[in-house]
Symmetry: C2
Subunit: 382 residues, 2 copies
């Protein structure tokens, strides 16, 4: 299979690239290092330094024997996206190329505009180039469970049958996201759905929960091949931030009451899910939506998992509630389904004190790189 | 009341400006003539030439005694929007400043990108500037009935209560629009709803059907004050196109089966609705959605109205089905409600052979300006 990974320098993009290349797929990876630049500008650099893509690809090939083609460019420019899709004719496009931080998206007027314009323009360029040059190609788009928000009804996989006044129809599941970043993914889905039903494209939209983890089987043991692991308040996700706080001796910062419940998954499962989606493509004129998480827990439950893991490696972890910088429900109903990927064959790697402890061990070896100033929330929208 | 009209050069923008100014409101109007430029570029200029905004404002003041402040600038630039909202501190912002053509939005890659970026950036700039400089201001945003598409259930006013597996919640009514232009309005609503609920803004989103008409009471009898009336396949709306075809002796071009049903309204009612919305603002943290049309009919029914009107002015009007250039259902259920504006006091001006005949009389006086090459669809997405 020929796979084009957009946003392949990122936390998920790089291990995804390595994962497809390792099994013998032909992989082309594109990125313009936007997240690196934004991380530098906001003093939010990753815990472990990561080489640039050509160097990573070279190191990866040295160790695995598998080649990766690197294309550096700005995917908000149509001519670049068009060239990639027209000339490479991929079977599968995996689209991660978005500004991924909720706090960043609400940091300033410029950051809000950048987030909207980057995310929507890349998505539009991809579907426009598919319509013109690769209408049979399968697009796998990274959405987010955050698109749904926290509704008072069960969350289905992207679609819902509504009965209303004696008649019925099937619709996109209603969505109301908690940040501008998450809202751009709502807009992506709306936009993609228009192109799917009007131009018969085939798309899988993966509604992913917060991911955690520092490595994947293909990258294990190679420090300079690890994904970009962020632990700061802007680019770090909840579990990863807590792991670093535990190691740094900073009490885990629970936002408000800590009852916020989300669906989480291990980085290893992200890779498994994306491969399952690629190997079982959506049909023509199908927008297939899959909820991509393996288990749900509240922030307080997550914190107690980390406390348990800390004990295994001899760290005493404290938990502290701080004023919630976000506008979100701290107690809410949350019952999302995730049967689609399980039916495709996903065998989840669930959270456990042992698995978290193994991650703590890796973080411990980088303890001197931790900057405590990057932990407390620097952006508020409450 | 101080009113800021964004996109005030347009078919609706200019009569809205005149309508508020005529009743003594202080009106500031902003535009960059984008629609004029696009109309020139696509050989789709209006039937009646319209002076530029400073000249229109001067002529209007001469005749009515009411001043209008004109600001020419690009509303996709945040600094311009910020200056307008911060310095004028309007009570009401009326946001019409979008690329308004469905065929244009699907004409080329560049046209698609322009439509998405223009429409979304103006909307984002407006809400960002409101958050920072005028959080109590009431935004009236022009949406479209086209956001809903043609679902198989009754269309409510923007919101729907969903019962699902024994639980219930209230959501934005599901939407699936028929063009990229209409989809940008879906995205606008999603985007605005995020800012309303997160930053306590007050917004009315008017889901308007196709508007028809050549003039309004405040502009009547002044040829150089009339709205920009488009009759071409790109910027013309259905009724207006048919009126011109009737006068030009071109059979009315019904797309496909002609069973496409929509909610229509007279330009006079658009003005009444916007004033009702302005005089009865939404509450803080309310996204009030009102369906803005007065009656529904199919394209075939519309065509027969025009045939009847033709008889009154001695024109024999023919009707001809042509291959539908759009991807849309030609037979469908359609039952939208519109009680909100009626409850606020709207007294509809319904379509009638007499009213259409009066419009035909105006078109007849401009018969020599009609270019028949602008009638047949030049853009296809089927």
């Amino acid at each position: 299979m020929k796979v084009l990974v957009l946003g392949g320098d990122g936390y998920l993009g790089w291990p995804t690239t390595a994962s497809f290349a390792s099994r013998g797929d032909e992989v082309i990876v594109a990125d313009n290092y936007l997240r690196r630049v934004l991380a530098q500008q906001t003093d939010s650099e990753a815990l472990i330094e990561t080489p640039l893509l050509p160097e990573r690809a070279r190191l990866f090939e040295q160790r695995s024997g598998h080649n990766i083609t690197v294309e550096i460019g700005d995917l908000t420019e149509y001519s670049f996206v068009e060239r990639l899709i027209r000339d490479y004719q991929p079977d599968t496009i995996i689209h991660y190329a978005e500004q991924p931080s909720a706090p960043y998206s609400l940091m300033s007027v410029d950051a809000s505009r950048l987030t909207l314009n980057n995310n929507l323009n890349v998505t539009l360029n991809v579907v426009l180039a598919m319509v013109d040059h690769a209408p049979k190609c399968h697009l796998i788009k990274l959405g987010t469970m955050g698109e749904y928000g926290t509704p008072n009804i069960d969350i289905e996989e992207g679609w819902i049958d509504i009965e209303h006044k004696g008649r019925s129809d099937r619709f996109l599941f209603p969505r109301a996201a908690g940040s501008l970043y998450h809202t751009t993914k709502v807009l992506d889905t709306d936009l993609i759905w228009f192109y799917v039903r009007t131009f018969d494209l085939r798309v899988t939209d993966l509604m992913q929960g917060p991911v955690y983890g520092l490595t994947s089987p293909e990258l294990d043991g190679h420090l300079d091949l690890l994904p970009s692991f962020h632990y700061d308040d802007i680019f770090g996700t909840a579990v990863n931030r807590f792991l670093v706080q535990a190691v740094a001796g900073i009490p885990l910062t629970v936002y408000g009451g800590g009852g916020q419940t989300r669906g989480y998954l291990n980085l290893i499962d992200t890779l498994a899910c994306v491969k399952l989606a690629a190997d079982n493509p959506a049909a023509e004129r199908e927008l297939r939506i899959l909820n991509q998480f393996t288990e749900t827990f509240s922030v307080l439950e997550l914190a107690s998992h980390i406390v348990e893991a800390g004990k295994l490696v001899g760290i005493n972890v404290e938990v502290k509630s701080i004023k919630n910088p976000r506008r979100e429900a701290e107690e809410h109903y949350y019952n999302p389904t995730n049967s689609g990927l399980v039916e495709l064959g996903l065998d989840p790697t669930l959270i456990s004190p042992e698995r978290l402890a193994a991650m703590l061990e890796i973080v411990i070896t980088h303890k001197d790189r931790i900057d405590p100033d990057r932990i407390m929330p620097r952006v508020k929208w409450n």
